[in-house]
Amino acid sequence: MGIEMKQLNCINCPLGCLLMVELTDGKVTKVTGNTCPRGESYAYQEMTDPQRMLTSTIHIEGGALPLLPVVSQKTLPKDRILDCAAALRGITVTAPVKAGDVVVTNILGLGIDILASRDMDKRQ
């Protein structure tokens, strides 16, 4: 297979560094173009097991607003993001909720919790 070069845009921060990834027999052997260490680990991750954060909303009963924004505690496998988003569509919690509260434990058995992004008081 030999050496192959791939271009990637780092998505860790708004800088969006253009990474040059050197692959030898399909394995990452060198990363350049990154301005911080997170770029390098992103390139390794993206080439082997791409991961993404998930943000969405769930229904909240008795809340000041009808929806509660939620976020995955850590990144999830990229190819499971749509399944996780679909699973969240059926979830309802009850107000009040505090930012950081776990609203779904171990989503789809992936070992990651889903957390409330903000406080949500009861409807006045």
Binding site: I11, P14, R52, T55, S56, T57, H59, L65, A85, R89
Partner: protein
């Protein structure tokens, strides 16, 4: 709300207003009032449920509501800071008397020793880009759709076309996909994307959404409800090229075609405005052309990062507090800062040099470029020079001019970006 006067009245309770309030409080201001027209503070962040906020300001990756929560947590329960929601400011006059209306207090008039304008910005609409055709249901700005989906709990449609590749448009492309809608295309009239690279990757490429650069919409179809659009390629003058038209089927069109600082109050007050930023002209303390009136955040110039909005608002809050307490440094020389060459805008537009302090300039360039040199000069004196690998209109550039370089340079400054010769 028993008082008629305050040290500082802040118009708008988004990230800029909350950050300004906290900064003014930190500076020792005793009577701070924040006026917010929505049902809660946090501004547009409350509907920006995605993550990626706060890396600079809070050194942590947060969602929009998470960032708003942090800003709010810093100001709530402080007896010196009063927040009124559901309150719409109608007018601000030269004596810094603010007229506002709320369901709770009716019409109120209050006076501030200083006022900070943090009204943010709003979206350009279909009217601003003049797409011909009927006016069927199903045409929304991306932000309006974002509020529907993320806060009100309903979908604007099922089959979506997005015009404009600004960040909100890109974020909505992903959001609609996550909600099970089909995003048919993102069309961008420029030959380059206008959003952050990370959003192109995560929101468009990840979902295999077709992106058409140098394309626009020439017709919207459907009489009662959108049934589709006609797209066409554009030439270098952004005019549609005849014969390149094609149809895309959709029931919803989202527009992400730019943001306009919301400055009706500023104009009525008579502030000097900048024709390119569409915001008030400010000095490095974010004081406007009227003494004691400050402005910060998207109302001054549209930012791409809320972190910089907070930073700018903290500057405004600090100096508004010092002014209100009579502690502002006098005896300063006013120096103009002019954007030249490929720099489209630079904030602040003028600086007042006194004892000297580090000054951060925020710039936007006219076009995407590789390997450019950014220089700041006072007359012929070079104050700052740096090579940047990439410069894009969508990404604001910040440059710090150290205090030692600021002092004594009273000849007007010029800020330039030029492509480096190979």
């Amino acid at each position: 709300m028993d008082e008629q006067w305050y040290d500082i009245i802040i118009v708008g309770g988004g990230p800029a207003g909350l950050s300004a309030a906290y900064s003014a409080w930190m500076q020792g201001a005793k009577k701070i009032l924040v006026l917010e027209r929505d049902r809660e503070v946090g501004g547009i962040l409350q509907q920006c449920i995605h993550n990626g906020f706060g890396l600079h300001h809070f050194k942590e990756e947060l969602t929009g509501p998470g960032y708003a929560q942090r800003c709010y947590d810093l100001v709530k329960d402080k007896k010196e800071i009063e927040i009124l929601v559901d309150t719409m400011v109608l007018n601000i006059n030269n004596d810094k008397i603010v007229t506002a209306v709320s369901p709770k207090y009716g019409l109120i008039k209050i006076q501030g020793k200083t006022v900070i304008l943090t009204m943010g910005c709003r979206e350009r609409t279909r009217g601003a880009i003049r797409i011909p055709g009927y006016r069927p249901a199903g045409v929304f700005t991306a932000g309006a759709a974002q509020r529907m989906v993320n806060m009100e709990g309903y979908l604007p449609g099922k089959k979506i076309v997005i015009l404009g590749s600004g960040d909100i448009g890109l974020i909505m492309a992903r959001r609609m996909s996550l909600e099970g809608c089909k995003v048919q295309a993102v069309l961008e009239i420029c030959p380059f994307s206008n959003g952050l690279t990370r959003n192109m990757v995560q929101c468009v490429y990840d979902y295999d959404i077709p992106l058409y650069l140098s394309h626009t919409i020439t017709a919207i179809h459907g009489k009662d409800r959108v049934t589709g659009i006609t797209a066409a390629k554009v030439d270098e003058h952004m005019k549609p090229i005849s014969g390149t038209e094609f149809e895309i089927d959709c029931d919803t069109l989202l527009l992400s075609v730019g943001l306009i600082p919301e400055n009706e109050l500023s104009r009525e007050l008579g502030l000097t405005m900048h024709p390119l930023t569409n915001g008030p002209i400010v000095d490095q303390h974010r004081e406007t052309s009227i003494e004691g009136v400050f402005a910060a955040g998207n109302v001054v110039h549209v930012h791409d990062l809320v972190d910089f909005v907070s930073e700018e608002a903290e500057i405004a809050g600090k100096y508004a507090a010092l002014k209100a307490m009579g502690k502002m440094e006098g005896n300063v020389t006013d120096v103009r800062v002019e954007a030249i060459d490929e720099v489209r805008t630079c904030v602040p537009q003028h600086i007042r040099i006194g004892k000297g302090e580090t000054i951060r300039l925020f710039m936007r360039v006219r076009k995407p470029m590789k390997r450019v040199r950014l220089t700041v000069k006072s007359g012929v004196n070079m104050l700052f020079s740096k090579v940047l690998p990439i410069a894009k209109p969508s990404e604001m550039i910040a440059a710090d001019i150290p205090a030692a370089k600021v002092n004594g340079h009273y000849t007007d400054w010029t800020v330039s970006v030029k492509e480096e010769e190979a």
